[in-house]
Symmetry: C2
Subunit: 369 residues, 2 copies
């Protein structure tokens, strides 16, 4: 059984699928591609059991067959080739023979029965979203997913379909990000939690192409052009996050994001590695930002102009978290909405982007006195 | 005691010195810069005891002083600043205070007595070499230095001054590189072995600027513009490498370097991780290059056109070593000079570059049969 394919065409196909191949796994079969030939179509699959990727190209094949071949080796060989025609010959003794004008490569293959089935996601619930919009929503929210396995729901990104829009929510208990994407509105409220690895792979796959999202009970699937990306959903209840969002933080601090961000980067050098604390001393027209490392005996103080409508307040934050947040807000000016040094602070861009509503919540830390 | 300096000017100075600061060391003092103020000159030193770097700028200072300050912290703070004036104030209680328009930074300093002395290299033996030439010589030879501490001399690069030119020699026992730089000729033969870390840091420092080399008994020093780089020499005898270079390898294989390199990259994917072997079956008009991984049951064979004037020969090499060599020869065509499958092979560019003579030696490996 034989088929022919151009090296560059195959490289492009495999490069889309290889992100689903796990780099370390107790199941060696997952380090393979499933090559499925069906009616002149070469369908390539890969999965790590949590996520899976599939795409296809047309090839000239003499018959249908399914084989499992070492993903990394085949990908590396194909992409190291110039623009050449490759003849794939599947032989009886578990040998796959690749032949080009100057070379012959023998690679062992396994039967396709051993390869895990890719779950099919029912096509009943379907949404269309612009690829760039989805990528932006993911990039603005994914950083706040929890890295701790204690509460599995929080290790993923919540997709919450609602009447006001599609909400992307992440939290690790110390901070929370909620982005409402207003172009997708639904009558029924539904929650889906997408795991971190899926979010990270998806972000790299997304481009200009529109994305079709299919929602199943246990899986979600994203169709981008000729690529189908699926992921298991986290089967847990997401924490009732709305209750922690303060409704009325009456004191607003408006500050230049670039100035503050530049200051925070320096404060990260001074805030001690144990407390990671930065202090904001907020007055009507300026904020004094300070950090210290008692162990090293070093400290830093900077003053930044601002507009603030509340009572003078000293409040402490985790320096790294403030840095993360300022990295993910795009506006020139940023608003800190405050109530007291012990209550959650809301951070927002001064101007909302069209069609979206971004809110970041940050818990303060108790100041060393 | 105070001095003022522009942040960007200081950043540029510190960025030249920071490569000598060790990232891990059992001696915490080495993680510092020595700041020496002398007659309006700020001289900055750093050392890891093996290598040291020194450079200076003019500053406006009220008096002379020497202090030792945390290198990474000061460098990171300075380079995170916009283009501003920094006032350095050295205060009595081991406190260094940096002040800018908006910020105040307190950093602890130590007395300069604790900082190791930089060895002074006698200025009696002196050579001038073009920075680009020196960089090229290092880049073409450094890859073959031994990584094993068993024979310390081989972990460095030999600089051998001779009547035919300055020889750069590296070897790890399996391969040897000798580059003769003909623009520096000396009557007396002398050998100096420069450690690997010095070679690696030096390569990054080199640019268009001419380099003055001073040679001492135990140290070598390189002056590049306003930067002085010194290194300890390896106080060992370099192996008598000339005796392993075959004088007459009568069979010459001429082959396109790019074709062979492309083939070798694919062979690296197939040659087994234990033997790392690639086989060259050389005939008059073509070479059949092959590799196999018995454990995985995979193998590869490619045929490349060549010109060969000897008897048909099968010879084996370490695939990685062939790859290294082809990466460091620049010519379109490369010559393999052979005698037999068990004798050292000489590899050379077809055309010598002007003013230099590059020779690479590679020991073959016994073929699995």
């Amino acid at each position: 059984m034989e088929f022919k394919v151009n090296s560059k065409v195959l490289e492009k196909l495999l490069s889309k699928i290889i992100p689903a191949v796990p780099s370390r796994t107790p199941m060696p079969i997952l380090e393979n591609f499933l090559f499925e030939l069906k009616g002149g179509l070469l369908i390539v699959h890969a999965t790590d059991l949590e996520i899976s990727l599939r795409s296809s190209i047309n090839v000239t094949a003499s018959e249908d067959i399914s084989i499992v071949i070492p993903a990394r080796l085949v990908f590396d060989v194909v992409r190291s080739m110039d623009d050449v025609q490759i003849n794939f010959s599947v032989e009886g003794n578990s040998k796959l023979v690749l032949t080009t004008e100057n070379g012959i490569y023998n690679i062992g293959y396994s039967p396709s029965e051993d390869f895990p089935e890719t779950p099919t996601v029912s096509k009943s619930k379907e949404f269309l979203i612009n690829g760039k919009d989805l990528k932006k929503a993911i990039d603005q929210t994914s950083f706040a997913m929890s890295k701790e396995d204690m509460r599995p729901a929080m290790t993923g990104t919540l997709l919450e379909f609602a009447s006001e829009g599609l909400r992307f929510v992440t939290t690790d208990g110390h901070r929370l990000v909620r982005l409402i994407y207003k172009n997708i509105k639904t009558s029924a409220e539904e929650q889906y939690i997408v795991p971190e690895r899926a979010i990270s792979v998806l972000s790299k796959l997304l481009g200009e192409t529109d994305v079709k999202i299919y929602l199943g009970k246990s899986h979600i699937s994203f169709i981008m052009g000729d690529v189908e990306f699926s992921s298991r959903l986290i089967a847990e209840k997401y924490p009732a996050y709305s209750s922690v969002i303060p409704l009325e933080n009456e004191n607003t601090l408006k500050i230049n994001r670039h100035h503050l961000h530049s200051t925070i980067k320096r404060m990260m050098l001074f805030s001690s590695s144990s407390s990671k604390q930065v202090k904001f001393s907020i007055k009507k027209n300026n904020v004094v930002v300070s950090a210290e490392d008692i162990d090293l005996g070093s400290n830093a103080v900077e003053k930044i102009d601002c507009e603030y409508n509340g009572e003078q307040m000293d409040i402490g934050f985790n320096t790294q978290y403030v840095n993360d947040i300022l990295t993910h807000v795009e506006d020139e000016q940023v608003l800190f909405k405050l109530h007291s040094p012990t209550k959650a602070c809301i951070i927002e861009p001064e101007k909302k982007q069209e069609g979206e509503d971004l809110m970041l919540l940050l818990m303060p830390v108790r100041l060393n006195t």
